[in-house]
Symmetry: none
Subunit: 539 residues, 2 copies
């Protein structure tokens, strides 16, 4: 039997069912691109029959140049009492023009009676007709057998009959779902083994984490013969989450000798995991296996002295295999290699042994320690590097700003800002209103600079994210503001950190405008190609 | 073989090795009391040989009237080259006057050479002498075989020799440790099975979560014959944490027919888990298996309509068995059935055909359309429903507030707020500073209300999240603020939405305080039972 295991990511569909998870179409497109670089084989983009936002995603994802992944749309088997051709859900899948359809049907007799309220026989026909219809349109069809394990435990003959119907109809994959997340690894192993002898179609596994066993259950299924694993990034998903592909991939590949992705792709694991958390605006647990900041962190004195003798004494793998790293001291944060990589990308003359380079790396480490995160803010990192190399001209300096926010009874809040800037020696004093304090400040700043840099009118903020870094102190905690800005051609991201949300926003705003104006000045020259190389365009 | 599995909790020792975990002696005493009510059999209180704070704990814990648990002190085998009687670490254990000692020794030849740098033979003697000495003093001795699985994989004969030495010396338990957390469940199962035939002493298991498999590995060991499980509350512990007893207990007891604690104790699981998080000042993931606020929460419309037909359709156990409860998340994905469900839960007389009910549902839909999201803000939804039913007394009304934020050159931003409230007819005028505009407003509001509601001092904000809803307009876009608040017993979440972050924060702040004070006022009355029914306590 092959040792190749296919990865099916449903972060964009099942993952969004998690509490507090809400992804815009733009977010979903970004995540899809990142999943492709990780090398997952299938990206489930959404349920076009249930959600209009998902239809827009399928339109836009076609523009992405995916190298590894096939995009798949989700739906259910046809409704009872109608023909598959007449079913809106199934036709919506076809309208998305994906090459792979993933449809779910019922395996548990209890569900057939209680949830969809039809006969066992009609349910079999619903499975058969739906798959047959999608196959007749030339699609690869993945059949998700919902509640398969609960169904099998209750009525094994019927559960097997449902997937045999799927096989008869020509399904390319039969994926067994532990939908309620209540099964034990030993049960999963036994049942998957029996299924693998009962059908000849390739089998997959889809588990949930309600017993903190989703990863173990996925591994047990692979051991028993499953060759597709469905899950999400960081285990996002409803209730206790889906199986966490971020843990499953290295377990399969580094521990159990299965093949999922390349070593190069595996080394992106930490980066991808953190990127998805950032986009989904979810705080990643520091102790997340393999990729968390504490996954290879050592605190106890005995452990530290032992790992200094040999890392294997308290580390189960070499952290770099998954793009993570060992941390011994609290202050020791990631960065140096990223900084060197970035400097090289910008063609800066960066000798990592020089005093200058060491100072830059120290400065960045200090900032990271304060809560800055440059992974989501390339533009701020670039400005920082250019400044250190004397390549950055200051556009203005701040003399002062004041913001007044006032509310009376039931009237809306009023926000005003006044800025005083020094622009190339000229003092500029400008006021503006806004829909909130940051918007008022942004408006005042832009109005003050417009006279000097008319191109500022073409730039706008396209995203604004606020994250509380240390949640324990709530409104007195530090916040990190990430601002994404765009003009007609480019998009760039900047960061600010402070205990004060206004201060953090100010830092990110100023970086955003500085970076935008540098880019603009260069675009008017003939250095377009070099800019692309430098990452200033299509960034 | 018996189906009784003993629970060994090391939250107070190994748990404190986790990043960001720091427990005072008082904290440890509180947690020990709570662990006893849960019915754990052993509480490992600390390492008296390495930590002065731990010695104080052992003195104070004697005053607790523990009903179920034995307290145990941790230490290592004697140092090389000396007699056990001369070893400070071992004598410190005796000084604590505990009845159970837990000592660890080396099983992995690599560690003997690299970490403690002695001979394989001397290591065996260290194990033997140390256990023999403690047994001669009348203690129950639990021997932790550190790195046993890595040791066994590398040199099975030597690994077995170490635990046979422990048996010869009279150890009461031999606990096999997967110290680096790198083993797979199949390996754990095979190795524990072999050990159980090689020794006649009772075997235990101690795992770590570096592969997201600590729970599965503990279950595999029990299946193979282990009858003691070591772990921590909520999986606290170094790197990726220890095995999570909060998940292991219900898995063993509700799924695999082992006996650990009584049904009554099991129903305290959610309460104990949340209590420990609160004391350790750790944010509990909402999606934590069994006990998280989202563990039995339903968001998707199809799922909600199915669980209303029968909970078993999407719930693997009855949540009350572990002291948790079902929640229906009100979100765009679901709809009116969720609101009805919530009203019923609150015992409101909600006739869904009435004009009143239709208006409430319409109002909630309108709010959701404006960007409110009640799935993460149960308390705001409850206030809204209670208000519609005339069950809510206003605590105060706002006359006005003003916030001033000012920055000069490179000096930090200063934030001040002034609020003017009408509290039961009395005008209150109060000012405060803060680390940011929202913090200043929060401080001023609390100071203004403190005189009327002194219990406000016991409530604090535990999380503050900001999300931009329509990102296209950036700083002019709407923001949604989610605030989580806690007191000693409860945690609740509220929401505010506005184009102005201050207005949105204000709404969520006011809801947070209103909800907190309603809960408090009722606790002082005699309506405790009704409150429990209404979900206001232990919510």
């Amino acid at each position: 039997m092959t040792n190749v295991v296919k990865l099916f990511d449903t972060t964009l569909r099942d993952g969004t069912q998690g509490e507090g998870i809400s992804l815009s179409v733009e977010d979903k497109i970004k995540i899809a691109g990142k999943l492709d670089t990780l090398g997952v084989h299938y990206i489930e983009g959404g349920w076009p029959g249930s959600n209009h936002k998902d239809i827009e995603f399928f339109n836009r994802v076609k523009e992405l140049d995916l190298k590894n992944a096939k995009v798949t749309a989700f739906g259910s088997t046809r409704r009872k009492g109608i023909k598959a051709e007449e079913d809106i859900n199934l036709n919506r899948i076809l309208e998305t023009q994906v090459s792979v359809a993933t449809i779910f049907g019922k395996s548990w007799d209890f569900h057939v009676h209680k949830a969809i309220q039809t006969t066992l026989e009609e349910n079999l026909e619903m499975i058969y007709d739906s798959i047959k219809y999608l196959k007749s349109k030339g699609l690869e069809v993945i059949y998700d057998a919902e509640h398969f394990f609960d169904g099998y435990k209750n009525n094994p003959e019927y559960a097997l009959a449902t997937i045999q119907k799927a096989e008869d109809a020509g399904a390319d994959w039969i994926v067994l779902c532990d939908t309620n997340g209540g099964s034990m690894p030993s049960e999963i192993f036994e049942i998957v083994r029996k299924v693998c002898t009962a059908v000849s179609t390739s089998v997959g596994i889809h588990t949930h984490n309600d017993c903190e066993l989703a990863v173990a259950n996925s591994l047990a299924a692979v051991k028993a013969g499953a060759r597709q694993v469905q899950g999400t990034m960081n285990g996002l998903g409803e209730r206790c989450g889906n199986a966490n592909l971020i843990s499953i991939i290295p377990n399969l590949q580094l521990k159990l000798n299965y093949q999922c992705i390349t070593d190069e792709q595996l080394s992106q694991l930490t980066n991808v995991s953190r990127y998805v958390s950032e986009i989904a605006n979810i705080n990643m647990p520091v102790n997340q296996p393999y990729v968390g900041a504490a996954a290879f962190a050592h605190k106890g004195g005995i452990h530290v002295s032992a790992i200094m003798k040999h890392p294997k004494t308290y580390e189960h793998i070499v952290p770099e295999l998954v793009g993570n790293k060992q941390r011994v001291l609290v202050s020791e944060l990631a960065g140096q290699s990223n900084v060197i990589f970035k400097a090289e990308e910008l063609n800066l003359d960066f000798d990592k042994e020089s005093a200058q380079a060491k100072k830059i790396i120290d400065d960045i480490k200090t900032l990271e320690h304060q809560g800055y995160q440059f992974e989501g803010a390339d533009a701020s990192l670039e400005l920082l590097l250019r400044k250190a190399f004397g390549e950055l001209e200051e556009i203005f300096t701040l003399e002062s700003f004041k913001i007044l926010v006032a509310k009376s009874k039931d009237r809306p809040v009023a926000s005003e800002a006044i800025v005083k800037l020094n622009v190339h020696g000229e003092l500029v004093y400008m006021a503006a209103e806004g829909t909130g304090p940051v918007n008022a400040l942004d408006n005042a700043l832009r109005r003050a600079l417009e006279k000097f840099y008319p191109e500022i009118k073409n730039m706008h903020l396209s995203d604004y994210k606020v994250r509380v870094i240390d949640e324990k102190d709530a409104t007195a905690a530090k916040v990190r503001v990430l601002i994404e800005s765009s003009d007609f051609e480019n998009t760039w991201s900047t960061v600010g950190v402070s205990e004060n949300i206004i201060e953090a926003s100010w830092q990110a705003l100023v970086d955003s405008i500085r970076y935008g104006l540098i880019g603009k000045n260069r675009t008017t020259s003939e250095e377009n190609n070099q800019q692309k190389k430098l990452g200033l365009i299509n960034h």
